[in-house]
């Protein structure tokens, strides 16, 4: 076989490589050759250029809005500092229906409500930065987005336990994210409370003992997050989390009925 014939073989492999169609052994062979062959490197660049045209052959497909939302959420959850332009469009505040629509469309829903809510939280991370209507001022908006990013970061952590809390009608109104002794709540439908009351989340042991984990206010009908809560050392063996509404701004020794939302660990 001449040198020319030998190289034709690699040219064929270059076409297969560009098409991502080589068998593993051919791929290995070609990569070893490519390292020292400017001709094949150039051929690859040319093939890639031609294939980029081929990418336009299918009918254009409008990506669903959730794709961009997912990218935004991924950017914000990446842990890398990100800047975004000032939102200039007149967007509507995050509406629960929008979130539910998105959640319904998400494949995460297939895995159940848990991940659906997690996805909803991720969505809000993305929307938070863009959504001028959600917050009165930008500082609050940025702070909100950062908190959502933290919540999503928790959601992505395999060590985080995710417990949906359901209201009387069976609908999820909050999700507890528990990692070690830290808890965050993603709120998704609890009514706004007034200044004279507070919500309290309780941990219930297998024996039925209940200990307050944290108190929080609900200030918006939309999605929101409350973090920075810590389970007390005495709260062990939690089998269920409960949410009640209490008078004042702190938790009583025992919960006041009715239980507004509950979820089993």
């Amino acid at each position: 076989m001449t040198r020319h014939d030998e190289h034709v073989r690699f040219e064929e492999l270059a076409a297969g490589h560009a098409l991502h169609a080589l068998e593993p052994e051919d791929e290995q062979l070609f990569r070893a050759h490519l390292a020292g062959c400017a001709r094949c490197e150039r051929a690859l660049d040319e093939h890639a250029g031609a294939l980029a045209h081929l990418a336009y052959a299918p009918d254009a497909a409008e990506p669903p809005p959730s794709l961009l939302e997912g990218i935004r959420a991924g950017v914000l959850a990446s842990g890398r500092e990100a800047s975004f332009p000032s939102p200039v469009v007149e967007e509507q505040p995050v509406q629960l229906d929008d979130v539910r629509r998105w959640r319904d469309a998400s494949r995460l829903r297939r895995a159940g409500t848990l991940t659906g809510i997690a996805a909803a939280a991720a969505l809000v991370v993305g929307l938070g930065v863009w959504n001028i209507g959600l917050q009165q001022d930008r500082d609050a908006q940025v702070e909100f987005s950062a908190r959502m990013a933290a919540a999503v970061s928790q959601l992505l952590d395999e060590e985080t336990e995710t417990v949906p809390l359901r209201g009387e009608s069976g609908e999820v109104v909050a999700v507890a994210l528990v990692r070690g002794d830290e808890m965050s709540l993603v709120l998704d439908g609890l009514p706004v409370n007034d200044a004279a009351t507070t919500y309290v989340v309780w941990g219930e042991s297998s024996l039925g003992d209940k200990r307050a984990v944290g108190a929080f206010d609900v200030t918006t009908d939309g999605l929101d997050v409350r973090d920075g809560m810590r389970l007390q050392a005495s709260v062990t063996d939690v089998t269920r989390y409960l949410v009640t509404m209490e008078q004042g701004d702190s938790a009583p020794a025992i919960p006041t009925l009715p239980v507004l939302a509950a979820g089993t660990v």
Partner: protein
């Protein structure tokens, strides 16, 4: 009992808001440079230019919309994390992006064996069939699509078959040999010939969206 009220002070990803950013007049390379500096808006601008093409390609390969969405999301997050991998001296940004999209989609289709089994040879070849253009298609996109389809039609049937089965079907050369009852060596030869012919026919066509990118440096070689 008094409990500390949640403060919500923790943040996994610090978020700053830049003002007055203008991406429209910037070419792809400038946007990529901004992405490397952490400009999320620049990433979104790139998505606005190429997200549709990437999604269309991924959906064509994967059929399943959600899998296509996952693949494209992964591609753009790869750009976000590692835009510096883009080497402008080797080709247009869109070429790099679409190549990544193709690879991710093909990897995905190979993982989804059940999905692949549903696919037929005919499905992979359907791209040459022109549907009615969408009214909201950008003109350049529409023209490019028609031109590429025309070029595909001019390829000899066996070359077109080998290219489209590989590119849109995600089949390997050996699988194509089996599907078409053709010797593996012949499939390899057809692929190379088809690639060369396609390149010749498409030479001079810009790879960038709406003229946003300077000419491909390879055209000057």
């Amino acid at each position: 009992m008094t409990l500390p009220r949640p403060t919500g002070a923790t943040a996994a990803a610090p978020v700053a808001v830049s003002r007055g950013a203008d991406y429209e007049g910037q070419d792809d390379r400038a946007l990529v440079a901004r992405v490397t500096e952490g400009d999320g808006g620049a990433l979104e601008a790139l998505y606005a230019r190429y997200g549709r093409a990437c999604y269309g390609l991924a959906r064509r390969i994967l059929i399943d919309e959600q899998l296509a969405q996952d693949a494209v999301q992964e591609v753009f997050l790869t750009v976000w994390r590692d835009a510096s991998r883009f080497d402008a001296s080797r080709g247009a940004f869109s070429t790099w992006l679409l190549s990544m999209t193709h690879h991710k989609a093909v990897d995905s289709v190979r993982r989804e064996e059940n999905l692949r089994k549903r696919r037929t040879t005919d499905e992979a070849l359907e791209v040459t069939e022109s549907d009615a253009p969408r009214v909201d298609d950008a003109v350049w996109s529409l023209l490019r699509r028609e031109r590429v389809r025309e070029v595909l039609k001019t390829l000899p049937g066996p070359q077109r078959e080998a290219l489209t089965l590989a590119y849109f079907g995600g089949y390997t050369q050996r699988e194509i040999a089996g599907l078409t009852s053709t010797p593996l060596g012949t499939v390899k030869t057809r692929m190379l010939a088809g690639m060369r012919r396609m390149k010749e026919s498409l030479d001079g066509m810009s790879n960038a969206a709406g003229g946003q990118e300077p000419p491909d440096p390879r055209s000057a070689r």
